[in-house]
Symmetry: C2
Subunit: 766 residues, 2 copies
């Protein structure tokens, strides 16, 4: 026995000596770092010296303790750059990563930061903090990765900035397959999720917590005090797909999408701010599916979305839904929230699609209405008259309304007993947050309501309760928007742009050189009358090309073989008052054949485009955020805008906006527009085509299908005030009635007709 | 302010005075009881005086406190009988019900005992204890009720005895629809669930915790220290359909079914005993569906079931299963269990039915194999050679085996690395429980295994660990089976039967009188040669009719109009060495037209049956547990055994066993047997037809379909050694190949043929 005791003492001593020698280790290469990691003991600091590390794959395994974590940190936060094909994997216990900056590259593995090394080496009680991942995006938008992939339990992402992911895959993913990863209590706190661009296809969530196949697991992930700043690209900014997640005190700022309780149950959504601009109808709020969520103390401001993007959308479910589809909403509590200047805040039975029974299988029909759901003590305030607080797509028979107050009459015909009209004055020292100056009514006390014991700002409700998210105007300030709450303190998310310059170009060569030399934002001014260009002009930044004398537009004549302008990732070209002409063999505008890793923009104003093959030819995987054509004459081309390369019918498409106004098409033999989105998918804006006040003549003669322009699957179409003359086709365009598309005030002569079909038959994606 | 304080003090005083006067109130009528309930305050005892209360509907609302519950109790437990159309509803807080005895009646509402009065008045912290519900069953087996219906939170059923429920509906039901009812922590403890008869159709569970539509809710119901004693009638003795339920230290004794994790996830099944008899293949163990269950420290003894009724059945799921069907098994841990004399304990991918793709819709095909599932530290011991510990219906690629030990070789071809053969000796002072006398191997330490810190008997595993459910043989006794753990102490579940008598009958009148006078179990001896009976003989108890001289059987000649023998609920008739004959217009045996509330039995031995319409004619809703015909001659009847009245095709059927052996049928114009079960249902035994060594001649001539005997949908059929001669039909019978049915050694002459179809197309029930 004595011997055994001795052994234990010796072990204790050894262990103690390891921590006694906890040390700072400075490294400046991958091999030195890996060596240091192998040697590290609890309490050690591994310090990456300032500099740029390219193609570095960090495998950080260690066994720290609560008191003595092992830390991998930047010598100076923000001065250690991780570039190229790089990633970071963590495994073990109590590991900290601090101050790294990922940019100019992408991960060669499934994720930039992964909280496991492999199935056996998983991270617990570990964190990444005070770091940046900026445009560290795959070259191909359909190549899937995550930027932060959570496994294990009790891990953290905090005070970090993540922005500019253009490719497939949620920015942050919580994985739940396996008992080691459930009940994880991960903390995703105090981060700044900067702009995520529109993607033009599904799977661009900023955060996804689980998946349908693990949606029965208890996750207990905490999403608190984060800023979601213009996180676009998916109808689900956050897709919660597991149980018991908490979303608390986050700010959703002009993000085109919603916080969606997609799968899983018993989420807490408390004290969040959802900020719109009063006009962008793609900015959403909360979308509710499944059971037992508590949505309390939230503040919704200037939200104008509808349906899936409503301020609050309570969905219809599919009876006995398949695991990956839509469960019925049951046992949800929506209490003590405020909707301000959001004219119709509550949408019920969203997704009801009984009328689509002909084009959808039975297992897709959402006919199960929400039930056992309570809306109580909510405030609705609109400065302009708004008398439709509720929009419902089905009977409302499963929702109880108690003690909700609006400053306008409720003329929706729903919830009369539980929504009272009351005059009120809102006040508060904030641009956004306001609350009634007087107590409006005695709040309803529902089952377990004693647990809602504070308001949005943390005021105790016990003594000074009121309807709505804020019980006490005295405490209101803009503190919730204080940027110091979000992201790394050393990082400035929006760098001030340099003042733009204007470069003059009198010859073709000067033009080519000027474009090369330009800083993003600069203008090139064409002072000569014409330019003969034998090569394509590559655009990889924001450039404006305009004529010195707008009344006498310069002509650019191209003999380049493939295309006149070659749009590259982040290329943003404006042609203003310029004529471009080709030799009939090349395109006017084209994208790279592949690796269009980021979106491009194209703006054509007061221009003339003639004698090209296609006006715009794109590649699969390319994506234009905005294509705008105004006051422009297009003539004698084979085809027009060919945004039709996403033929896999998986919900992807080649542009978000295609706006053509006050322009003319003449002698375009093929389609003047082919804008294609295939597959039944609800996760994107779905494309926007505006075709307004244009004239189309003598076009479409080469169309075998006798259709002049195609917009298959594009969700938002405006088709108004156009004139079609002498186009030898049967059909000008087919509009999608179910999406509200209809032709308005078009003049048609000898050009076939405009068709409207109600329901479009689309491939299911799942 | 002073005034307000005074008011509060006065209220406190009033409140105190109420409890100061807590009192015993004796009542002996429903009206007095309801008055007493209305007046009751915390701490009161409401005492039902001894006696029988008929058609009493108790609405027990009260607000007791933890220290001072309100109690409704029997003056003497077991001396207060609740009969007729009676029920009990509880609502409020801290209510106790103690010592009631429900019998001779049934509930007029949804349940006998309901833990809510209505949607507003729900019980919390309330209990029913020390009570009995015995054969308090609906008159119609398809009339649905529950005996104990749980709502609210923190309620309890304890030390009670419940037996003899024959009708549709689980004996105990936990309801979970609504936030008031989740996280309920109900305690169902120390009860004796006595025999539940076979039902002949679905929905006869002893316990159902939730439903598919509420299966996402956290229930946390605790089922502990109960005896499930021959709880038959459903393949699911317990159907767990919610999350986080615990099943601990229960005894499942010869119950024809399993503990089934039907819907919901994260169940704990720890320290239970599953006891079979080594031959009854309908006695099951645990059936596993869904995610995250921990199955530890259980002991399985003499279980011989297969497939759904295997000792442990791990199912295949349906990919993306609908809510009410079969999710994939994932993340399940099966550790430290013992299987003793259960030759093939582990069944994997049970329910795989890919081969039935032709007859089932895609949404019914169970092709998703179990995954991320661990079997570790389990013990398999068989006294006889048993080298197939695993039976798998699909590839086994998602199950990890670690440190399992069997005393025989594993020749299943599966799990070789994780199941080692090792010699061992089992010991222990118990009829059932035994454990190895030596330490077998070092147990595997999986994720979270430190939580399995005790064994089946409560021994700490820390110091003295071993493979299997019991880590230490020294502590083994029969204590787990000690009946004093289960049910009310005052109640004797099995009353000793009176000694049977024999009544002699020399005339028809004496026969009628003797049957009336007989006690259940008695014999009537026929001493004359013949009896002319002008009325039907009603059988509502166990009666045996036999001839005094078995070599010269007496003849009973019936002129009664409807039937010779009228079987009533619980009628159990044996005819031994008797001839019965009719006038061709009545049936030999028939059931009541309705209200066959309990099963009947029929045994015909060495008899002759002639000149009847049907041999057996039954009503919809009637159910025979066992019909046995041996050495009997049946002739000149319109039809034989017509168990064909369950034509709704909802999985119900009219008899469990129909066994006909060594008998003959001659000149039966219609079907000799029509035994029908319709609808796709897996919840019952599904009927058993044994047709063996019989001779059938000159029968079937009136069958339009040219089929001699029908057994549509009957699952278990033995068809062997029969002779068919000169029957003018095309088909003798159609057997169901998928269920293993095949004809063996039959002789057929001029009688058509026996057909086998592989898959039967059946209506889906859901």
């Amino acid at each position: 026995m004595k011997k055994r005791l001795l052994t234990i003492s010796a072990l204790l001593l050894l262990s103690a000596s390891n921590t006694l020698f906890a040390k700072d280790v400075y490294v400046s290469s991958e091999s030195a770092l890996q060596k240091a990691i192998k040697a590290a003991v609890a309490g050690d600091n591994l310090i990456l010296k300032n500099g740029t590390y390219t193609d570095i794959n960090i495998v950080f395994y260690g066994e720290g303790t609560e008191d003595k974590p092992i830390t991998l940190k930047a010598e100076t936060p923000g001065k250690v750059f991780i570039e190229g094909l790089s990633d970071l994997k963590l495994g073990g216990t109590y590991l900290n990563v601090d101050g790294l900056y990922f940019r100019n590259g992408y991960t060669p593995s499934s994720s930039v930061i992964n909280f496991r090394i492999d199935e056996e080496r998983i991270a617990f009680h570990s964190k990444v903090t005070n770091s940046v991942i900026d445009e560290f995006t795959q070259k191909d938008r359909e190549a899937r990765d995550w930027w932060v992939e959570f496994w294990g339990q009790h891990n953290e992402l905090s005070h970090s900035y993540l922005a500019g992911k253009s490719n497939r895959g949620p920015t942050v993913k919580v994985q739940l397959g396996g008992n080691q990863h459930i009940n994880n209590h991960h903390q995703i706190v105090n981060n700044h999720f900067g702009p995520r661009p529109r993607k033009g296809g599904p799977s661009a969530e900023t955060m996804q917590l689980g998946s349908s196949s693990t949606s029965m697991t208890p996750s207990y992930t905490n999403i608190e005090n984060n800023l979601f700043d213009r996180c676009n690209g998916e109808v689900e900014v956050i897709s919660s797909k597991s149980n018991y997640n908490q979303f608390k005190n986050n700010v959703f700022f002009q993000s085109e999408g919603s916080l969606v309780l997609r799968h899983g149950n018993y989420a807490t959504i408390d004290g969040n701010l959802f900020i719109g601009d009063g006009s962008n109808e793609f900015v959403g709020g909360i979308r509710v599916i499944n059971t037992g969520h508590w949505i309390t103390n939230n503040y919704f401001y200037k939200l104008t979305g509808e349906k899936f993007r409503a301020p609050i959308a309570v969905m219809n479910g599919i009876p006995k839904s398949p695991l990956n589809r839509y469960n019925q909403v049951t046992d949800v509590v929506v209490a003590y929230n405020s909707w301000v200047d959001s004219p119709t805040p509550w949408y019920f039975s969203v997704g009801s699609n009984v009328e689509q029974s002909d084009v959808l299988p039975k297992s897709e029909i959402r006919s199960a209405r929400p039930t056992r759901t309570l809306f109580a003590n909510n405030l609705i305030y609109n400065s302009a008259k708004a008398e439709q607080p509720i929009h419902a797509y089905d009977k409302v028979d499963g929702i109880t309304f108690k003690a909700n107050i609006s400053n306008h009459a409720n003329k929706s015909g729903i919830g009369e007993d539980g929504i009272s009209q009351q005059k009120m004055t809102l006040a508060g020292q904030s641009d956004y947050l306001k609350a009634p100056t007087a107590t409006l009514a005695k709040p309803y006390h529902g089952f377990d309501f004693d647990k809602i014991d504070t308001d949005l700002l943390g005021n105790k409700r016990a003594n000074n309760n009121n309807i709505g998210a804020i019980s006490n105007t005295a405490a209101i300030s803009d503190k919730p928007f204080d940027e110091s709450r979000f992201g790394p303190s050393w990082f400035e998310a929006e760098q001030p742009a340099a003042a733009p310059s204007t470069h003059k170009a009198a010859t073709a060569n000067e033009l080519v050189q000027a474009i090369k030399a330009a800083q993003s934002g600069d203008t090139i001014e064409l002072s000569a009358a014409s330019y003969a260009l034998s090569q394509s002009i590559s655009i990889d930044k924001q450039v404006r090309i305009t004529s010195a004398n707008k009344n006498k537009p310069a002509t650019l004549s191209f003999s380049a073989s493939n295309t006149a302008f070659l749009m590259q990732p982040k290329g943003d070209l404006t042609l203003d008052s310029v004529t471009i002409q080709g030799n009939g063999k090349q395109h006017a505008f084209a994208t790279l054949d592949k690796y269009m890793s980021k979106a491009y923009n194209l703006s054509i104003i007061n221009a003339k485009i003639a004698n090209f093959k296609h006006v715009l030819e794109v590649s699969m995987g390319s994506f234009a955020d905005n294509i705008e054509v105004v006051n422009t004459r297009i003539e004698n081309c084979q085809s027009g805008f060919m945004l039709n390369k996403e033929t896999k019918n998986k919900g992807t498409y080649n542009a978000e906006y295609l706006v053509i106004k006050n322009s003319s098409f003449d002698r375009i033999d093929g389609a003047i527009v082919d804008f294609h989105r295939g597959g039944y998918d609800e996760s994107t804006i779905g494309g926007i085509l505006v075709f307004e006040n244009n004239t189309v003549t003598n076009s479409g003669k080469a169309r075998a299908d006798k259709v002049l322009m195609k917009n298959h699957g594009i969700v938002n179409v405006t088709f108004e005030g156009n004139t079609f003359n002498n186009n030898p086709v049967d059909v000008i365009a087919i509009l999608w009635g179910e999406k509200g598309q209809k032709p308005v005030g078009n003049t048609i002569k000898n050009s076939g007709k405009i068709k409207v079909v109600d329901n479009l038959k689309l491939d299911l994606l799942y």
